[in-house]
């Protein structure tokens, strides 16, 4: 009975065409992205509930800088995806490595610089404690996703360098790049929510 079931499964797997498999992969990734959207959406709701039309004093130049770095990284990620779909291996590898570098630069900007210079801390006491808690939770959760994206892209770069991907087999690259763009989309909402929306209150730099 078990042998028959396994044979039937194997037969069924053979029947799935590459186009159908790609469709199912994309559908699965987008369902994952939708579930992540609920997570980040909830965090944004918490920001508006707790901060309202106010925000802490943050370094505006740093906020704009890391945002532009992340946007440029998305451009290179897109370039890497296009390159592999057209068998341009050299551009693919170069672009994916630049994306990883920019992702690390973003992490240095947020975790290494913003966290150190922010006028609020996650454990501070007093009337402004809510600013520290929300700021570090939002940036921390996002930075964690950037870190996982960097690791994912590094795996893709390593596999790509070994000739694992080409114009017929590119799902690994496409999936990792779409995840990277999603992390970018989240920051497109987080940046104004943290740095621009409302009136700046509390301790300054």
């Amino acid at each position: 009975m078990t042998v028959t079931a396994h044979a039937s499964d194997a037969h069924h797997a053979e029947e799935v065409s590459p186009a159908r498999r790609l469709y199912l992969n994309r559908l699965g990734l987008w369902l994952f992205i939708i579930s992540e959207t609920f997570l980040f959406g909830g965090i944004l709701v918490a920001r508006f509930y707790l901060w309202g039309a106010t925000r802490p004093h943050l370094d505006q130049a740093l906020g704009m800088g890391v945002t532009i770095i992340l946007l440029i990284s998305s451009f290179f990620a897109n370039r890497a995806e296009v390159a592999i779909k057209y068998d341009d291996r050299k551009t693919f590898l170069r672009s994916i490595l630049i994306t990883i570098g920019l992702g690390i630069l973003f992490l240095v900007g947020v975790v290494g610089m913003e966290w150190r210079t922010a006028p609020v801390t996650p454990m501070m006491e007093g009337e402004f404690n809510v600013y520290g808690a929300v700021l570090f939770f939002m940036t921390g959760m996002h930075a964690f996703h950037v870190l996982t994206g960097v690791i994912l892209l590094a795996i893709i770069a390593r596999l790509g360098a070994r000739g694992h991907f080409d114009s017929q087999n590119f799902w690994g690259v496409e999936g990792a790049v779409i995840y990277w763009h999603f992390v970018d989309v989240v920051w497109v909402f987080f940046y104004p929510a943290l740095y621009l929306m409302g009136t700046a209150v509390g301790p300054a730099h």
Binding site: P18, A19, Y23, F75, V82, A83, K85, F170, F182, P192
Partner: protein, 77 residues
């Protein structure tokens, strides 16, 4: 863009997609800078900045994440 199989056609397609990616990047950076100045001008209006963030996100989702190709079952963009 219609998929072609000739080397010239594929090269043209690839260049078109590279160029489109660059145009989207420029639009995104311009919108982010505009975001900053709108925040100063409107005193951090949540509504205005939320609309601008939605436009930014729509550009990324459409042109970088190819949301419309999910159901196309095609290999290309």
């Amino acid at each position: 863009m219609e998929a072609t199989t000739s080397p010239e056609g594929r090269a043209a397609e690839k260049n078109f997609l590279y160029r489109r990616g660059l145009i989207v990047l420029i639009a995104l950076i311009v919108l982010e800078v505009f975001d900053y100045f709108m925040a100063q001008w409107s005193n951090g209006s949540i509504t205005i900045l939320a609309v601008l963030a939605l436009i930014n996100a729509a550009l990324i989702v459409q042109y970088y994440m190819h949301v419309t190709t999910i159901f196309s079952m095609e290999g290309d963009h």
